[in-house]
């Protein structure tokens, strides 16, 4: 227990943790603030104004059309060729219709909490996951590379317990940061919806669904923190985790994408990690195989492959488990010099 508290303190004392936390808070606050300015509440006046503008646009269009037709007739009377400039029949068939001027087009953007907040949960999770990754990797990486780990093991010669406690301290901190900032994030967007957008149809069911999205966000953030921690501990250096992340990203998002493209493997995206990240947040991603289509035979329903968030759980869970087992195994076996 004392070790756990010590590690919490050590993590909180670190400059990387503090600096990144400040950046994270500033970044999230910046997004929320910018967003609150770009959203506008659709009050009766705004809707009425949009209607007025649409009517005006319609009348203007009709006026323009009438003038064009008149110009065309005049030109025709002078014996000029008009087909090319004005179209057949002097464009008489193109009379503007009122339904072409939907007042919706004149409305400013309004944030819809129910429809759009889930996307912002993913944005939040991405930012916090980045925080968890860097803090997690540097927490143990710097300990290894500066000899702090060795010092600690002279005091607590139980290697697995030490590594486990450090990781527990990291995940507790990350969880705390995620929950607290997540609460503020939700509150901020609810307020944006309430005062500068809309919160209609936000039922208990919607809140439950948001809660589940939040849980999945917490899950991925913790998994990424743990993976970063394990990678840096395996490599005994912060840079190892960052390097591994860049390598995996490059291989998965660029290498595999190109390879499946060249080899025209059906549903190639199922080998790409970002598909699973997407599925994790959206609950499912549908992949289509347009190559299987034979358009010559007319309309085609392309073959589908459904990637669900359970598949993502399997992929990320397995990935995390493999790195964690490797990290703890290495901690047990390898010399510390």
């Amino acid at each position: 227990m004392s070790l756990f508290v010590t590690e919490l303190r050590r993590l909180a004392k670190r400059r990387v943790t503090r600096l990144l936390l400040v950046l994270l808070v500033l970044g999230l606050a910046g997004v929320a603030t910018a967003f609150s300015f770009s959203s506008h509440k659709l009050s009766k006046e705004v809707v009425a104004a949009a209607q007025v503008e649409a009517d005006h646009q319609y009348r203007q269009a009709v006026k323009d059309w009438e003038r064009t037709v008149a110009d065309c007739d005049a030109a025709k009377a002078r014996g000029e060729a008009t087909e090319e400039r004005f179209g057949p029949n002097c464009g008489r068939d193109w009379q503007p219709q009122p339904e072409m001027f939907d007042p919706k087009w004149n409305l400013p953007y309004q944030f819809d909490f129910r429809a759009e907040f889930p996307t912002f949960i993913a944005v939040f999770a991405g930012a916090v996951a980045l925080f968890a990754f860097i803090v997690g990797a540097s927490f143990v990486g710097a300990e290894w590379s500066t000899g702090g780990m060795m010092n600690l093991l002279l005091w607590r010669p139980k290697r697995l317990a030490v590594l486990g406690t450090k990781m527990a301290a990291l995940l507790t901190t990350v969880l705390g940061v995620t929950v607290v900032l997540g609460a503020f994030w939700t509150l901020a967007f609810w307020l944006i919806g309430r005062y500068r957008g809309t919160t209609v149809k936000v039922t208990a069911g919607v809140w439950r669904s948001i809660g589940l999205d939040g849980l999945r966000a917490v899950g991925i953030v913790l998994a990424i923190g743990a993976i970063a921690f394990a990678l840096a501990s395996l490599g005994r250096h912060t840079a190892m985790a960052l390097g591994a992340a860049v390598a995996v990203f490059a291989i998965s998002e660029i290498g595999i994408r190109i390879a499946v493209g060249v080899l025209s493997i059906p549903f190639g995206d199922r080998y790409v990690l970002s598909t699973y990240a997407q599925a994790w947040f959206m609950k499912q991603v549908k992949l289509f195989d347009y190559d299987a289509c034979q358009f010559a035979k007319g309309q085609c329903e392309p073959a589908e492959l459904l990637v669900t968030w359970q598949d993502s759980a399997l992929v990320f869970g397995l990935g995390a488990a493999v790195v964690l087992v490797a990290a703890f195994w290495a901690m047990r076996k390898r010399d510390i010099a």
Binding site: S2, G148, R156, P157
Partner: protein, 327 residues
């Protein structure tokens, strides 16, 4: 006397694909009695740090037996760790924390009272700089912090790997009196160092290691006596007689080295025989002194690492003890 530290037949082999195997420890034995200040000596790369790391559970040995404070390692290490304070070869600290924070975190992990931190900071002379980041410390200040971290637990056994590394002369002397005080208070100290004058001054006993094996051990005076080998310095009234005297003595079976104005003899049992032998030839001795050896020369002789003019000795060129483990 009870042994605080026991090592028998310890082996550690490093394997690398490129350079093959290296026996860093090759059947090493060591024994330290309670309450002693014990010097742990050996040339570079002889295995001192490897031994200490293995004792402290940082390295897994390939064979042998170890015990600390009467308990078998590595099984009992968690139980005895609280009573063993150690620094291993210029330890590094997290550079952005202050000395006080560094020690505070260790004390908390070891469930020690916070005031102990200030006590040890005072003890090693870092009191006034304890709030500064370790990054800004000089080599000797870092070394003092390391000693402070080892003393923090108020251990029964203190293991210091080259603690004087980087200390100023005053610091070395303070370290010497600190060791003495600690030993007087009942602490056992194991000290690895290359400053043999220091070792001779403060240690009760020594272990000398070369290429992963013990080459000598025991109380300092016994080790010195066992290896002084009857060294005697001889001066004659006439320097011109030196070659003749050397010739006479070597024919009598004495090992002689001729110097500019005197002879150095080795393997002399009774100095009186020397003066008798020479007097028989009409050579008159003006000085005949048994030479007291110091630890440095014994060390150089035992490890065979004395510099030879015109040669550059490479590391790993030192005494190799042949025979079974623990020879």
């Amino acid at each position: 006397m009870t042994a605080v530290l026991e090592i028998e037949g310890l082996r550690k082999t490093y394997r690398s694909r490129k350079r093959g195997v290296r026996h860093a420890l090759d059947g090493f034995d060591m024994r330290v009695e309670a309450g002693q200040v014990h010097g742990f000596l050996g040339p570079n790369g002889s295995g001192k740090t490897t031994t200490l790391r293995t004792l402290l559970g940082l390295i897994r040995p390939n064979g042998g037996r170890m015990a600390l404070l009467g308990q078998e390692l590595p099984r009992a290490l968690p139980a005895v760790a609280g009573q063993v304070g150690a620094i291993v070869e210029s330890p590094q600290f997290f550079p952005h924390f202050s000395a006080r924070d560094t020690l505070g975190l260790l004390a908390q992990a070891g469930e020690l009272p916070r005031q102990r931190v200030d006590e040890v900071l005072e003890l090693v002379g870092l009191r006034d700089r304890a709030g500064e980041r370790v990054k800004t410390y000089s080599l000797g200040m870092k070394q003092r912090l390391a000693v402070a971290s080892a003393l923090l637990k108020n251990p029964k056994l203190l293991i210091l790997d080259e603690p004087a590394n980087g200390l100023d002369p005053g610091g070395i002397r303070e370290m010497r009196s600190l060791m003495r005080d600690l030993a007087a208070a009942g602490m056992t100290v194991v000290l690895s160092s290359h400053i043999l004058g220091e070792i001779q001054l403060i240690c009760d006993s020594v272990t000398i290691i070369s290429l992963g094996r013990r080459v000598a051990y025991g109380p300092v005076d016994e080790v010195l006596a066992a290896h002084s080998q009857g060294a005697v310095r001889v001066r004659l009234e006439a320097v011109t007689d030196l070659p003749q005297a050397a010739d006479t003595l070597s024919r009598a079976g004495v090992r002689v080295t001729t110097e500019a104005d005197h002879l150095m003899l080795a393997g002399v049992d009774k100095p009186a025989t020397v003066s008798r032998l020479l007097a028989e030839r009409g050579l008159y001795v003006s000085e005949l002194t048994p030479v007291a050896v110091d630890l440095e020369s014994v060390f150089l002789e035992l490890t065979a690492t004395a510099p030879v003019p015109g040669q550059h000795r490479q590391v790993d060129q030192s005494t190799k003890v042949e025979g079974g483990w623990g020879a």
